[in-house]
């Protein structure tokens, strides 16, 4: 069954076509193999033993009992773990976070790996892990802001300043006609991709072969090469399909490294699959925040100042501070702006990137506070946002590469029916007596680009090959990037062989920061352009070619042919050019990266507006989101179906942020109280309202050659704020602590 090549009808350009996902048939039949589905010959099973305490030391492990269990092959502990080339706590680059891979007996958070049991069967290894019966010396833990000291971090996110701004915020607040001074709390979130982290590792001498889900294979190669003292090119990673990433698979996590160490220890291939409850610890999470917002406005409703103070927690042993201020730097025009951070150390794993890191948590606080100020000014919240519309980036004063936010507001509002909204709260009740409210939130996310390379090839049979080590965690890289590749080579999709998902291909950069399509797409665009140019060069230098002497600028490619631009009756096929030259193929390579001249002089962001309707039961406090309309502008759309899906999926994460998700830690033990999918709530389909995403046209000739911004994360921003604001509009109650659960709406 040749299901990868489902025929698609192409009308001119592949870009912009609504193609279905190319690997869809593999996924619905179960033929797509995820990491844990692999089973090399002679493979053993490794099972993690994880700490039941959040801070202290492991004082005893009954290794003998575990090893005596039938089928247990070995037990890996700090005593016998393979020696590493450098210590896992060494910070070799800004993306090297400290790992817990059995370097010692110390415990730094609950669910930290403390041993690995390797068995002939999963059953034997699982039983072995139980038989270890660890004993601990536990110490007191801190997992709440109330319980420890605050400090000013050296940097937040990845190297961003902990204090930024301009103007005199205190004067702006002092002179304001209306002020809000409010505090918003956001909890820790865990990625909870449906696929738990898994690895199948096999050593072939000094060469390492792994199947593991990765959003950044090249970064993983670098990290593993450093730890094991081998060359990055001796590490071969296969990651063609990720069962969801959401940032959790951006950096290789400790348990994945332990799978590799276990394979080294026993000299056989090893599979290690994390159990759901073990994910609440060693793979990162969205850090908890407490955001103090002070805003002022003049009598006309114009902002006079924004002060955004963020208290956030990192782990006791490493630094990652949730960078919640980003949205405040970019959204609303204000003469005075200040964003500041304080940090705390909790006895948890290190918080890391979770879908829209910083933007998601910051957006709820900013959109909530802006709504409160609009209320204080007696203004419609959408009119208030328009009044304070930023024509240039508020923090830097730079012009935007493009910004179609006004169109997002207008089209979203029209579709939603915003004009009928009563100004005051608690004015709408539906036929069943449920309080009804409407809210708006502005969405924004930066248009990042990282570094990527790609390789393109045109073959003498007229087909093309494009290779790039890109990652598809569900967003659609297999399809959207192939559309860019086919267009770059001016070929139909079925003439293209497209390879991604393995580390031997050119580095595509990390699939994160909503930057993958822009970055990898740009590399593909340049590589395919280089291949076409090389082919044109051959033809133009060949006296027998109709293109002889045309000059580089005078040749265009279309449908597997090159033509003279000035006379399109003169042209020939790729196959003809290459056969006559006696060549099997011609190759081009290209890079993708941000244009420094643009990033220095312009601000690049995607924007959107989200409108929410909620209904609240006045007797029970039960909230339902009944309607969501989002309108987003993010540059060029490669595949509308997939872009819409990213928006819808993102908006549902926004619903989840507002109403469901919350990791609850036991303040006495530091253990997660709800570390499972029964109690850590993500929405089920019945929690999902009627939801609609409108794709707003936006042309951006500056951001990159293809005009692409990112779409993977923006949907969360704006949405949670819109819902919280709608809850106020329904009930008159401002809930400033996420998620808004029924018990916070007692009235």
């Amino acid at each position: 069954m040749n299901i990868m090549n489902t025929a698609h009808v192409r009308h001119g350009s592949n870009i912009g076509q609504n193609l279905t996902r190319r690997e869809g048939a593999l996924k619905v039949t179960g033929a797509a193999r995820y990491a844990a589905d692999h089973h090399p010959a002679g493979m053993l099973y490794a099972v993690l033993a994880v700490s039941a305490v959040a801070r202290g030391r492991v004082t005893a492990l009954d290794v003998a009992a575990a090893k005596a269990h039938p089928g247990v092959v070995d037990v890996m502990t700090p005593q016998n773990a393979p020696k590493l080339a450098h210590h896992p706590d060494e910070k070799t680059n800004p993306f090297a976070f400290r790992l817990d891979i059995l370097q010692d007996a110390q415990v730094r958070y609950a669910n930290q790996p403390i041993a690995v049991v390797i068995g002939e069967s999963l059953e034997a290894a699982t039983e072995g892990a139980v038989l270890l019966a660890p004993a601990y010396q536990a110490e007191d833990v801190v997992v709440r802001f109330e319980d420890g000291e605050h400090f000013v971090p050296a940097a937040v996110g990845v190297g961003a300043p902990a204090e930024e701004g301009h103007g005199d915020v205190e004067a702006g607040l002092r002179n304001a006609a209306q002020r809000v001074d409010v505090t918003y709390d956001t909890p820790a979130h865990y990625h909870n991709a449906l696929e738990p982290h898994a690895i199948v590792a096999e050593w072939q001498g000094e060469r390492l072969i792994i199947d593991t889900p990765s959003q950044g294979m090249a970064i993983a190669q670098g990290r593993l090469a450093g730890l094991f003292g081998i060359a990055p090119e001796d590490i071969y990673i296969r990651s063609p399909y990720l069962g969801g990433g959401f940032g959790g698979k951006g950096l290789i996590a400790g348990p994945q490294v332990l799978g590799i160490m276990a394979a080294k220890l026993v000299g056989k291939p090893v599979k290690l699959v994390m159990r759901r409850e073990q994910l609440y610890g060693p793979i990162g999470h969205r850090g908890v925040t407490r955001q103090h917002m002070r805003l002022g406005a003049d009598t006309e409703g114009g902002l006079t100042a924004i002060d955004h103070h963020i208290l956030t927690a990192t782990s006791r042993f490493d630094d990652f501070f949730e960078p919640s201020a980003g949205v405040t730097h970019t959204l609303y025009a204000t003469p005075a702006l200040l964003t500041r951070y304080e940090g705390m150390r909790f006895d948890t794993g290190t918080p890391l990137f979770v879908r829209a890191p910083g933007e998601a948590s910051g957006s709820v606080a900013l959109e909530g506070a802006i709504d409160e100020l609009a209320e204080a000014c007696g203004m419609d919240p959408l009119a208030f946002r328009l009044k304070n519309y930023a024509e240039t980036e508020p923090l830097t004063g730079k012009p935007f590469t493009s910004k179609a936010l006004r169109a997002c507001y207008a089209q979203g509002a029209a579709r939603f029916g915003w004009a009928k909204r009563p100004l005051a709260a608690r004015m709408m009740t539906d036929a069943q007596g449920l309080l009804t409210g409407w809210g708006v939130g502005t969405a924004t996310f930066p248009a990042h680009m990282f570094q990527a390379s790609a390789r393109a090839e045109i073959r003498s049979d007229g087909s093309g090959v494009v290779e790039i080590g890109a990652h598809d965690m569900g967003q659609g890289a297999w399809t959207a990037l192939a559309q860019i590749a086919a267009d770059g080579l001016s070929l139909d999709m079925d003439k293209l062989t497209f390879r991604i998902g393995t580390s031997d291909l050119p580095d595509a950069g990390i699939a994160g920061g909503s930057a993958h399509t822009a970055t990898a797409g740009s590399a593909i665009h340049n590589a395919t352009g280089a291949a076409i140019a090389a082919l044109a060069d051959i033809a133009m230098r060949d006296e027998t070619s109709p293109l002889f002497g045309a000059g580089n600028a005078g040749v265009v490619s279309r449908d597997g042919h090159l033509y003279r631009r000035d006379d399109e009756s003169r042209g020939e096929s790729y196959a003809t050019i290459l056969s006559r030259a006696g060549l099997d193929s011609v190759e081009g390579r290209g890079e993708g990266a941000a244009d420094q001249a643009v990033t220095e002089n312009y601000a690049g962001h995607a924007h959107g507006a989200v409108f929410a309707e909620v209904k609240v039961d006045p007797e029970l406090g039960q909230v339902r989101v009944t309607r969501l309309v989002g309108a987003f502008a993010a540059g060029r759309v490669i595949n509308p179906r997939m872009v819409e899906s990213q928006y819808l999926g993102g908006m549902i994460w926004g619903v989840s942020f507002a109403l469901h998700e919350e990791a609850i830690m036991d303040r006495r033990t530091g253990r997660p109280v709800n570390g499972n999918l029964a109690d850590y709530h993500v929405p089920v389909n019945a929690d999902i309202p009627s939801v609609e995403a409108i794709l707003i046209d936006e042309q951006d000739s500056l951001i990159n050659a293809l005009g692409i911004k990112g779409v993977g994360e923006i949907g969360i921003t704006g949405t949670a704020g819109a819902i919280v604001n709608a809850i106020w509009h329904a009930t008159g109650i401002r809930v400033r602590s996420m998620p808004v659960t029924l018990d916070k709406l007692l009235f």
Binding site: T29, G30, L242, G245, Q432, E619, S645, L648, D679, L742
Partner: protein, 481 residues
Amino acid sequence: MRALNMHIRAVLLTESDMNEIHFSLNGAMRQVSSLGPVVTLLDHLRLAERLTATKEGCAEGDCGACTVAIGQLDEDGQIAFRAVNSCLMLTHELDGKLVVTTEALAKAPSLHQVQELMVERHASQCGFCTPGFVMSLFAYEQSPATRPALHEMLAGNLCRCTGYRPIIDAAHDIAARPQSLLPAHWAASVAALPDACINAAAPADLDELDRALHNTPSAKLLAGGTDLGVAIAKYGADPGPLISLRNLAALREVKLSEDALMIGAAASYSTLLPFLERLFPAFAAMVRRIGSLQIRNVASMGGNLCNASPIGDSAPCLIALDAILTLRSIHGVREVQAGDFFAGYRKTILREGEYLWRIRIPLLAPAQSFHTYKLAKRYEQDISTVSAAFRLTRDNDRLIDVRAAFGGMAATPVRARAIEAALVGGRHEPAALLSAIDEDFTPLSDFRGSADYRRQASCGILQKLLAQQEQSLSVEDVWQL
């Protein structure tokens, strides 16, 4: 596999010396020892069969990535399918059944219509939850006569990428299409299996069960296995000796008599739901929010009661409906009121060697009505913060009798006598209702809700109940936002 202990025996062999069970896997016969270690169907598929389409996302029946379709031949020789969580299903329980996984649906070169629509609607993104959704949709597509609402059918499958809408779009398309034809060899493969009742290491009738439990009073009874499955699959608990109830049709019977509904303790929620829909729609509304379809397809009301959860959503209904439980052992039978069945937190009054046989629910008199409420943070698949059930008896417009029972307000589901008195006595203002609530309950605070919220929300429930009496709104109207 997650049973951890190699020495765990799945089934307490009673009076049969046969120790093999047979089932059809995608049309091919499989034979496994019924006396081996406990193995979940998911582990059997992924580890023994190396059929890896079926995924493990949580190993406790929350995410549905492991969903497969289980088929049984009905009287007409047709296969009736239901979706189940393979992570909770013990392989031994498959004796005589057909298991279908995603791998078996497509017939090259074309996809099954469910698969095709999942692709067409962009309902598969990362793809990890997809095989589970495909199997839920397949079981749905194959059961045109008994299709639940779409959101109920999909409640047991979590998706973190799509936001569900594309999946619901695909489900709508499937609902509009004719049922697909099954490969002929599937039914033949099931018909060819050895007779389950003869060749099974499980009691064949209640007398045999009485003796088995008498001989091994510590044995646990395995009905749907959804609680035991979690204990085994997630916590690696050694369940000790087990007695499978899979061959006891007498424990699964649901019968309607002139004045009562009789429910066999091991009847699955899905089996009894059509009866509840007709007789006690509000009870049915509550049951539809118990677990997910995959869970309700195997889980039983008897199992729910015997586990004596402080919340267990069916218990308040049974208490308010004055249900009678029949308990049975080798020494005979006895009857108790549903309200007297719970002895404390996760404790029942069952004696050694005794089990719950059946549940008798008296039908409503013409002057009676029945109402239920479930408060939970998430719409589907969530344990209640508070649940409540009320049977009201009216003389014209006057309430003359109220039976009220609450879950989530005490260590067990309990009857609320002070509340009953307040309702009948016409003390309907909030202060009076709150004081009755305080007389009946001292609720706990936990992460599902504070004590004060539980108190206030209970008052909200009572006000809502009273308002509905005035407006004659049905429960459904209020709940289905």
